[in-house]
């Protein structure tokens, strides 16, 4: 019975935050990526869309931007505008790190 229990629970894995970079064209298509293949293409597409929309809408609002840095408690997105497209850097970070500031 104990032997059978080993096979009862499937191996589950938590979704790691993506770490790496990718480029996206002006049409929102992901062109090149250094991210692990386990990262969902749909997630990359969502990030790409949000970044491109932010750049375009900022230009429409009269504040054209060349770089956008979005900080979450445990994650950072850095995007640089590239002729209508963008290069996007994704980096998890720990809230437990001691900041050298202050």
């Amino acid at each position: 019975m104990d032997l059978l229990r080993l096979f009862r629970k499937p191996i589950l894995s938590l979704q790691q935050l993506p770490s790496g970079s990718f480029t996206v064209g002006r049409d929102g298509q992901v062109l090149v990526s250094t991210l692990a293949s386990t990262v969902s293409p749909a997630l990359l597409q969502d990030i790409a869309q949000a970044v491109l929309a932010a750049f375009r809408q900022a230009a429409d609002a009269g504040v054209p931007l060349s770089e956008l840095i979005v900080r979450y408690s445990a994650f950072k997105i850095t995007a640089r505008e590239l002729r209508g497209g963008a290069i996007v850097f994704l980096a998890p970070h720990s809230t437990l790190m001691v900041s050298p500031l202050v």
Binding site: A53, D60, S66
Partner: protein, 394 residues
């Protein structure tokens, strides 16, 4: 992802479980009285493994507070139970099928912000610990594998069950920052307290029980200490002592605390005193956009309320409407992305442009948008945004 070398799940043998229960029953240092026992706290335990649920249900039921322990084997079931009845503490595994623990925590933090949450997992990856805390977990515990670890976990849990639902500093939520400083001074500690409040960070140096220095953003000494004490809540951590720190505060800690408490009381009392003046017709935050512009290199400021229909307050912009709309749309889009990633709350967004830089901070129900001179570097924008945040909280 790394796993502990010990067994992933704690399946205590019956003698071990009885031994632990007997030992923990003897602990009665939490002041639980017959009256408080009448209102038994409720714990909800979520794990996809029925063996783990059974084991921990038995153990938790033996805590001195005699909690009522309910269990759920899926995130959906746990969320339904949380909707149906009130719980004091929610204990959650991370690795589960369909909806993982981080997703559940993310929903729980939005829907039940007052609920104490504990992550109990076999996952030892630092990233997940960080994300769990970012999602508002009160405690993160690797599943204990020895009697001692279980006992420590139970002590922490009992302490959490005993806390009232009051705001305060994470770590010692029933104590104010003044209490913490007094305790450190009374015990003649050598320590450095690092306190964070949103984007603001401060440090207080205590050497041999004497308050020697404080620092936050551009303030130093007594002024910094006063500013830090004006923060209502936040996180604090204790850093290694710095006995060589030069002294800038010479007043005794108690005298300084008293002075600051009086000043804070007066400022709060001043706001509460009714005046004969009519309430302002515009948004009450109207003067604050102008105040934010006192920080050097600010080109414009915008204060947006959480309600998209509410009028915004601006300074230095001829046509603030499009920029306010952009800020709202962009913040909303990236907040949704943060929820999808379970990466914790959005803390700041910075845009660098050839004409001007922008920085956005969600601050409670408000959103601050500040335009900066484009000659500033990204680090300078971040530093200046801390000054803006300090001005906003003051």
């Amino acid at each position: 992802m790394t796993k502990r070398p010990t067994a992933e799940r704690v399946l205590l043998t019956q003698p071990a479980r009885e031994k632990f229960v007997l030992e923990f029953r003897g602990t009665d240092s939490y002041g639980w009285t017959a009256a408080s026992m009448e209102k038994r706290p409720k714990i909800l335990l979520l794990d996809d493994d029925p063996d783990v649920l059974d084991t921990y249900r038995d153990i938790l039921a033996q805590l001195p507070s005699k909690p009522e322990v309910r269990t759920a084997s899926s995130g959906a079931r746990a969320l339904a139970l949380l909707e149906a009845e009130p719980f004091r503490v929610f204990i959650c595994d991370l690795r589960m099928p369909k909806m993982d623990g981080l997703q559940v925590l993310s929903i729980v933090r939005c829907k039940h912000p007052q609920l104490r949450t504990v992550v109990l997992t076999a996952v030892a990856d630092e990233q997940f610990r960080s994300r769990a805390y970012a999602l508002g977990a009160d405690l993160f515990w690797q599943k204990p594998s020895t009697d001692d670890e279980i006992r420590q976990f139970m002590h922490c849990l009992e302490s959490l069950l005993g806390r009232e639902d009051e705001p305060g500093f994470r770590g010692v939520q029933s104590k104010s920052l003044v209490d913490i400083i007094q305790l450190e001074c009374l015990s003649r500690s050598f320590t450095v307290l690092r306190i964070t409040n949103g984007p603001l960070t401060g440090r207080i140096w205590i050497n041999g029980g004497d308050l020697v220095d404080a620092e936050t953003n551009d303030l130093q000494g007594e002024l910094a200490f006063q500013r830090i004490l004006s923060w209502k809540a936040g996180n604090f951590e204790i850093l290694p002592a710095e006995p060589e720190r030069p002294r800038t505060i010479f007043k005794p800690a108690n005298a300084l605390l008293l002075e600051i408490a009086q000043a804070l009381d007066e400022s709060i009392g001043g706001k509460a005193v009714p005046t004969n003046q009519a309430p302002p017709a515009e948004s009450p935050s109207l003067p604050r956009a102008t105040q934010l512009a006192q920080v050097p290199d600010v080109e414009f400021s915008l204060i947006l309320s959480a309600d998209a229909k509410a009028s915004f307050d601006s300074y230095g912009l001829e046509d603030p409407g499009p920029k306010a709309a952009w800020a709202r749309q962009t913040l909303e889009a990236f907040r949704a992305l943060g929820d999808q990633l379970t990466a914790g709350p959005l803390t700041q967004m910075t845009g660098l442009g050839p004409q001007r830089h922008l920085a956005l901070i969600p601050f409670g129900s408000d959103q601050l948008v500040v335009g900066w001179d484009s000659k500033l570097s990204p680090d300078e924008v971040d530093e200046n945004m801390k000054k803006v945040a300090a001005l906003w909280t003051s």
